[in-house]
């Protein structure tokens, strides 16, 4: 394919008239022809594609899909890790007016089957043999699925099924049609015919309850959101990001596809899940996104590693970190800082912050976002004090992500910022946060009922979260609206709020709080194996298994201390002081998505857990000090087994509420 033949040659459209991503592709192929569009660490180096090259790849594949019969409005599933070809599939399908449906690649076959069937997909593009096997295992149950395309040919030699094709084959098929004069023109024409309110993509939300729902998002939803997000943070074609979060998650779709296409920046795919950290270090993204968990894990890893450093180095490290926590954020926010402190911070940058950012791959980060859950204020401040412009945003699949975000210079750990450009926010009488924006979804696929429940006629959407706008005009989220409850004595009980406070301790991986309609608050705690394991090693505490470590008296003691600290915090907050934790237990197994205890995005499924561990919860409230339980688990390969244990329940100290006036003094 020679460049001149393929260089987008159709009519020139003004940027303001573009309403779909394929249209942006044509534009970028012209305006950023030689700029990198994607990179993928493969075969040991960063294989790169310019926008022009990517345009050619996508066009060939798109035409191939067309040859295979993909038509406007049909659904095509995309299953796999972050690979350029899978991203190309989005655009290739959209160019034909078809609707891509990305599916979480770690879903088990059963979950996948539901989505494939529900969305009536006619084709599936899979990354590798593993995904192909899952799709094929559903056999004839998928009536609509006609073609399966794979990216990596490894191990596919023995599959001689008619419906299987390799990505290259499809591209070749498409290239063949390019031989006829009009194919390319027609393809472009077709792209320009697309409308803003056509469906762009369908994303299935895993949801904490029930079957996943297919959120339909239009071109307008996606493109407009992406453009305003770019403007909000001043992103242009010079950005580089690392695409490592699940393709099927709306965040990744917006950051790694939507914003990349509209701004024209470069998206880099890591070599494999194990090498993400190393690959991020190599690329040094300018824009970085991660859920709080990733930041937590990173911070834990930093501290654990530093434990092994020499005394001098450790001292120096903590000395400068202390200094950063004093002045780092101020410097980042452009506030006044004494010259001497600035000099000290500069030395710290040289000795600690700079190298640390370098090791983490954050050297060039202009903007970092965390969202999805509340982030621990300590963790949040830690990164900001190093000079990383980390911000919070609040979003949903139904909103094409952005509901609110923190503008530069107005960063506070406890809020999620101001309404994003074009978004209106209201707090309903029930305390639930509602919003309206150009990004608001079209509806749930084949689920009028849910659509109506979520979206009002005027376009307002229920977030399901309880929150309020604070004095500065920033949104604060308390909890899931339906989870906020009351203790018997009438105190407000916001489980997520309490759980998050607990989870901010590195040693606590997960916590589930109970208390609605009960006498007091009880908590089930999950320890963090990395962090606690490391602590155990340093303190010569021997343990053979997770279970043994979790039940260790010393671990219980540590957890009790953490919980006491949380209670002390809570006692200082007017609204929450009444709901302090009275009893807790440390769970003998890790909460796991495979067992249905967490969602695929690793959120706690509260109801499921309260059913599954009903005897334990009962033990918390009936005053017993221990309880025997037997739990069924599913291993990675699908086999079932069971874990049994006698779990100890402990009491913790509760603090008298501190009135706000006293606290202020």
């Amino acid at each position: 394919m020679s460049a001149d033949k393929s260089a987008a040659r159709g009519e020139v459209r003004s940027i303001d008239s573009l309403v779909t991503f394929p249209q942006y592709l044509l534009l970028n192929a012209r305006r950023f022809a030689t700029r990198p569009a994607m990179r993928h660490k493969n075969y040991g180096i960063w294989q790169s594609w310019t926008w022009l090259q990517m345009h050619e790849e996508i066009r060939a594949f798109s035409l191939g899909l067309k040859e295979l019969g993909l038509d406007k409005g049909q659904k095509i599933a995309i299953i796999g890790a972050n690979r350029p070809r899978l991203y190309w599939t989005f655009c290739a399908a959209q160019a034909l007016g078809a609707v891509p449906v990305p599916i979480y690649s770690d879903s088990i076959a059963e979950e996948m089957e539901y989505v494939l069937e529900h969305a009536e997909t006619v084709m599936a593009v899979c990354q590798d043999q593993e995904q192909i096997d899952k799709v094929l295992s559903m056999g004839k149950k998928l009536k609509t699925l006609k073609t399966i395309i794979y990216d990596e040919p490894r191990g596919m030699r023995d599959y001689d099924l008619d419906e299987l094709r390799s990505f290259e084959d499809v591209q070749k098929l498409g290239e063949k049609t390019l031989g006829s004069k009009d194919a390319a023109d027609e393809w472009e024409k077709n792209i320009y015919q697309a409308k803003g309110d056509d469906l762009a993509v369908m994303l299935y939300t895993s949801g904490t309850t029930g079957r996943p729902k297919g959120v339909m998002l239009s071109n307008d939803n996606m493109v407009k959101t992406a453009i305003s997000a770019n403007e909000f943070d001043h992103f242009d074609e010079t950005e580089q990001i690392v695409a490592y979060l699940p393709l099927a998650w709306v965040g990744d779709h917006v950051f790694s596809y939507g914003q990349a296409f509209t701004a024209g920046y470069c998206v880099c795919c890591p070599e494999s899940a194990e090498t993400v950290n190393e690959d991020r270090r190599e690329i040094a993204p300018t824009y970085f996104f991660a859920p709080p968990r990733v930041f937590e894990i990173m911070l834990t890893a930093i501290m654990v590693r530093m434990e092994d450093a020499g005394t001098f180095k450790k001292k120096m490290f903590h000395y400068f970190l202390d200094h950063a926590s004093k002045v780092g954020e101020k410097i980042l926010n452009g506030e006044k800082v004494a010259v001497f402190d600035r000099i000290k911070y500069f030395i710290g940058e040289l000795m600690v912050y700079g190298p640390l950012k370098n090791r983490l791959g954050f050297t060039n980060v202009k903007v970092g976002y965390t969202a999805g859950e509340a982030i621990g204020p300590e963790i949040f401040r830690f990164y900001r004090s190093l000079g990383i412009n980390l911000k919070q945003l609040y979003g949903q699949t139904e909103a094409s992500v952005y509901i609110s975000a923190q503008p530069d210079g107005e960063i506070r750990a406890e809020t999620v910022g101001r309404p994003s450009p074009g978004v209106e926010i209201e707090i309903a009488d029930s305390g639930e946060v509602m919003y309206r924006s150009p990004g608001v979804f079209v509806g749930y696929y084949k689920n009028e009922k849910s659509t109506k429940e979520t979206k009002t006629k005027d376009g307002w959407v229920h977030t399901g979260d309880a929150g309020f706008i604070d004095d500065n005009g920033h949104l604060r989220i308390i909890d899931r609206a339906k989870d906020v409850g009351k203790l018997i004595d009438g105190s407000m009980f916001a489980p997520k709020y309490i759980e998050n406070k607990l989870k901010f301790f590195p040693n606590v991986k997960e916590a589930v709080a109970f208390g609605d309609g009960r006498e007091f608050v009880g908590v089930i705690v999950n320890i963090d194996l990395t962090s606690v394991g490391n602590w155990a090693e340093r303190n010569n505490i021997a343990y053979a298994s997770y279970q043994e470590l979790a039940a260790h008296p010393q671990v219980y003691k540590m957890m009790a201390e953490h919980i006491e600290q949380v209670n002390r915090d809570l006692s200082g907050e007017e609204m929450m002081a009444g709901a302090q934790i009275s009893r807790f237990l440390v769970l003998h197994k890790e909460l796991d998505a495979d067992d249905g205890e967490l969602t695929r995005t690793l959120k706690v499924r509260r109801n499921f857990i309260s059913e599954r561990y009903a005897p334990l919860i009962e033990a918390i409230y009936d005053g017993s000090t221990e309880k025997y339980v037997d739990t069924e688990v599913i291993f990675e390969d699908g086999r079932k087994g069971s874990i049994s244990a006698t779990v100890e329940v402990r009491d913790v100290k509760v603090f008298a509420p501190v009135s706000h006036k006293e606290a202020a003094e």
């Binding site: 493969n42 075969y43 040991g44 490894r154 191990g155 030699r157 023995d158 070599e271 494999s272 194990e274 090498t275």
Partner: protein
């Protein structure tokens, strides 16, 4: 798995033919009058109890030992004595029972070393690492990366092999042998000292190599179970003699073989 049938083998073309080979070391007879053939595209196993002369047989095939009697016909060329590098340049490549990697070099360099025969740029260009010499390095690096990808050892690409665990070393060694793009690949106990999972991985790689690249493989293995699953045909040796030769199921039920493995006195 599409195992080859007896019929496939029967019509197959001989890649290697070993004829009446005898080898002795100062009176100790390591191999006595052994003959067998290896057909293009098959996986041929040589099994036998310890000291049966299996490794010596491989050493004879790739020219490391010179048999006192008999001939070896490879790709239609008959010979008895040859230097190992001749065998290598004809397309015989191998792994070793006790991993024989170049311990001072990285995984990448080890596999690159496997491509030595394919690299020819002369000293002059090498001196300046420029032009043809550099292009050659890059071209072969690409080929090596494909092997690294194939064997799923990306994460240890630049690790010195001496620091790798045993299982991975074996895999790197396979990679090094593959790098030569051999027409006959000799594997000397590829699964020795591995745990079950590693054995499964290695078996998968061996089968993949055979199917994906169509490489003919001769392997020595101790683990009968593995051999029965992997091999198309099996030669059984005991005390330097061939005691059986055939398809896995035939060999399995052969009385001589059972006796040899149970250690019946001779």
């Amino acid at each position: 798995m599409s195992a080859r049938t007896a019929a496939d083998i029967a019509v197959g073309e001989d890649l290697l033919h070993v004829d009446d080979i005898s080898l002795s070391f100062g009176g100790v007879k390591a191999i006595q009058n052994i003959s067998f053939n290896i057909v293009k595209g098959e996986i041929r196993a040589i099994i036998g109890p310890n000291g049966a002369g299996k490794t010596s047989m491989l050493n004879v095939i790739n020219g490391f030992y010179h048999p006192q009697e008999g001939t070896i016909t490879f790709l239609g060329e008959e010979r008895r004595k040859m230097r190992p590098y001749r065998a290598a340049s004809q397309g015989i490549s191998r792994t070793f029972q006790n991993v024989a990697l170049f311990t001072g070099m990285s995984t990448l360099d080890n596999i690159m070393a496997g491509r030595s025969l394919k690299m020819h740029r002369n000293f002059f260009w090498q001196m300046f690492r420029y032009g043809p010499a550099l292009n050659e390095e890059i071209e072969h690096r690409r080929a090596v990366e494909e092997i690294i990808d194939f064997l799923e050892i990306e994460h240890i690409r630049k690790t010195p092999v001496g620091q790798l665990p045993y299982g991975l070393q074996k895999r790197v060694e396979l990679g090094r042998a593959l790098a030569a793009e051999p027409s006959l690949l000799l594997l000397d106990e590829p699964m020795a000292g591995m745990n079950l999972e590693e054995k499964e991985d290695m078996s998968r790689f061996v089968i993949d190599v055979n199917q994906q690249f169509g490489t003919t493989i001769a392997l020595i293995e101790h683990d009968m179970g593995v051999v029965m699953d992997l091999a198309d045909r099996i030669v059984v040796m005991d005390y330097g003699k061939k005691i059986a030769d055939g398809m896995p199921k035939d060999v399995q039920s052969d009385q001589n073989v059972i006796d040899a493995y149970l250690g019946v006195a001779h």
